[in-house]
Subunit: 142 residues, 6 copies
C-alpha cells in the first residue's frame, strides 16, 4: 500500500485597511520617537496580502487536501470581512488592546482561523502577511 | 544633422496612506449607499503606486532626458512627503475639500509637480496612480 | 470656470480558459506547421489578465469617472462569466467561427462591453489582454 | 577545516496547459456539484508556474550547488515538454487515472525529476506549483 | 464590408548586462559628480526587461498581427543576442560612442529592429526598456 | 501565563551589480565551457533582490520582533552599500577569492549580518537572493 503523501496548499487573499502604531501608555512624543511616521495620529494604511498555507493528504476522490473554495470562504468570513476597508486599531475586535504590528496581526489571524481549518480536515501550517512589497511577517503556531 | 528624438522616461514611487470616500453634503446613509465599504467612517488605506512619465530629448552629455535622481527628488519632496503615512482626507493640503478618489488624486499630483518637471527641462506626460493591483487612474493634463 | 479634466481609469479582471489555434480550412499538418504547439488538438490554456481602460470627467459628487464597482460588474457579467473556466473555441458565443488569437479576443471583448460602458457615462478607451507574462494584445477601437 | 554549508537553489519554469477536475466514477451532476466551474466538460486552462528547489553544498570549483542550466534542462525535458501546451487529463502519461488537482500534479512532478536531480549531485527539496496568482501547492517528498 | 481593425501586440524579452554611465570627455571626478554611483569604474549591471509593441491588422487566416514567435525570433537575434550577458559599453556595437543610458538604449534598439518588423508586415509602435522596477524609458520613433 | 510566540519577519532590499563567473585556475576556454555566457570577460550584471528573514518574539511594548527600520539599516549598511552599483568580483571585500555565484553570495551575506541581527535581539533565519525572476538561492546557516 502506498504511503500517504503530505501536500501543502496556499491561498492568497487581500484586504485594504487603515492603522497606526501607537502604544497608549506612551505620550505622542514617545510614540513618534519609537514608531516614526507609522505613529501619524490620523492613521495611514496598506494593501495587505495574506497567504495562508495548510497541510493535508490529497483525497482520492477529489485530489484536494481541502477545497480551495472552502479555504477561501473561511478566509473571507473570518479575516477579510473583519479587516477589509476597516481601521485595524478601532474596528477589529481581535486586535483590541494590541499593537497593530504585522507580527501581532499574523498571530491574531492564526487564532481566528485555526479551528475552521481543522474542521475542514487540514492542519494550519503558516500565516503570512505582507504589509508592503518590502515588509512581511509569518507565523507557524510555534 | 540628425533630428531630435523624443524619449519618455517613467519613475515609480510608492506611498502608504489612509483615506475614505465621503461626500460631506450627504449623510452617512447616502455615503454608504454610494461608496459602500470605501465610506467606512474610521478610514481604510492603501499602498499607492505612483508612476510619473516625462518626455524630453536625451542630452548629448549625459544620455538623460532628465536625471532620474532629480525626478525622484521632485516626486519625493512634492508628493511622497505629502501623502506617505498620512490621511489623504485630513492631512494633505491639496486634497482639502475634494473627494479622495484616485481620479482626483492624479489630477492633484499633476498640479503639484508640473512646474518642477518643466524647470528641469522636461515636459510632464502622464501621472498614473494604482490604488490596488486591480484599480488605477491616469491623467495626461488634458 | 475651471475646464473639465479627462481622467483614464483602468480595471483588471482575470479569467482562466482553454483554447487552441486552429484554422478549420486547413488540415492538421498545416495547422501544426503554422501554429506549432498552440495547435495541440486536445487544447491548452491560460490565465488571462484583462485590463480595461475607460475615459471620462470625474463627477463632482463622487470623484469618480465611473464607479469601479460598476465597471467591474460590467466586465464580470459581459466578459468573465462568458470566458472563465470555458473553452474559448467551443463555449464562447462571440468567438464562434473566429481564430482564438489574443488579437481577435481583444476586439471581441471591446464589442461585448462598449455599449455598457457608454451607458455608464464613460468612453471605452482600451482593452488589453495578457495571455502570458510575455505576450499580450491591445485594442483602442481604431 | 571549514564545515560544509548547505545552500538551497530554486529555479522557476512555466507551462500553459488545459485540464478539468473530473472524477470518472461520478456523473456530470456530481462532478459539477463538487468541482463547480472547474468541471466544465470542454476544459479550461492555466499558466502554471513551477518552482523547484534543490539543496546541496556549493562546489569549490564553480560556486554552484548544481549548474542551473542543468537543472533547467532536467525541468524542461522531464516536465515542461510533457505538460506545456498539453491537456493534463488527456495528454500527460504520469497523470493518467489521476485527478488533475495541483496537489496531485506536484507529487507527480516530484516523481518525474527526483532521480535526475540526484544524478546531478543534489537533493530535491521542494516542488511548488502555482495554478493562479491566488492558488498553489507544494510537496517536500514527505 | 467590415473595416480593418488595428491591434497592438506586445512581446516581453529579458537580458542581463553590465554597464556604466561615463562621459569620456570628462574626468573621473566630473563623471562621479554627474552620474553618482552609476559611474563606478568597475561597472554595475541590471536585469533589463524589454517590451516591444507592434501594430497591425489581424490576418483572417491566423488571427495574428504577426506571429509572436517571429517577433520573439527577431528580438532574440537582433537584441537579446547582442546585449545579453554583455557589457553595454564595451561589447555592443550599436552603443559604441554613446552614453549607455536607458534613453539611448531604447532609441538604439528601435533602429536595430524597425526594418525586420516591417518585413514581417507590421509597424513598430513602441520600444520600452525597464532598467529596474522603478526606472524605465520608452521610444515611439518620434 | 501565555507562552511566547515566535514570529518570522522578512525585509526585502535590492542592489544592482556587475559580475562574472570565472575560475582563475582555468583558462578562458574552460571558463567559457563551464560557465557559458556567464563567463563573458567584460562582465554582465543583475538587479539582485535580497530577502532577509529573522525570527523573534514580538515585544509587548512595540509589537515588533525587531524594528524593520533597524533591520533595513543593517542591510543597507552591511550589504547594499557594499554590493550596490559595484562589481562583485572586483569591488566587494567579502567575495575576494571566491566565485561570485548566488550560492556563495548568500553565505557571504549571512556572515556579514548575523552578528548585527543578534545584537538587535533577533535570530537570523534565512538569507535569500534572487539573481533573476527565474533563479535564486537561500541559506539558513546550516
Amino acid at each position: 500500500m502506498e504511503r500517504k503523501k503530505i501536500v501543502y496548499v496556499t491561498r492568497r487573499e487581500r484586504f485594504n485597511a487603515a492603522h497606526k502604531l501607537w502604544n497608549p501608555e506612551w505620550d505622542e512624543e514617545k510614540n513618534k520617537d519609537v514608531f516614526g511616521k507609522c505613529a501619524n495620529p490620523n492613521w495611514h494604511g496598506h494593501n495587505y496580502e495574506l497567504f495562508v498555507t495548510v497541510k493535508g493528504v490529497p483525497s482520492e476522490d477529489t485530489g484536494y487536501c481541502m477545497d480551495l473554495k472552502d479555504l477561501s470562504d473561511v478566509l473571507n468570513k473570518k479575516v477579510v470581512d473583519v479587516f477589509d476597508h476597516k481601521n485595524v486599531n478601532l474596528d477589529v475586535e481581535c486586535m483590541k488592546g494590541k499593537l497593530t504590528s504585522t507580527e501581532n496581526m499574523v498571530v491574531a489571524i492564526w487564532d481566528l482561523i485555526e479551528n475552521s481549518i481543522r474542521a475542514l480536515g487540514c492542519e494550519l501550517h503558516k500565516v503570512e502577511l505582507k504589509e508592503t512589497e518590502n515588509n512581511g511577517a509569518s507565523y507557524y503556531g510555534e
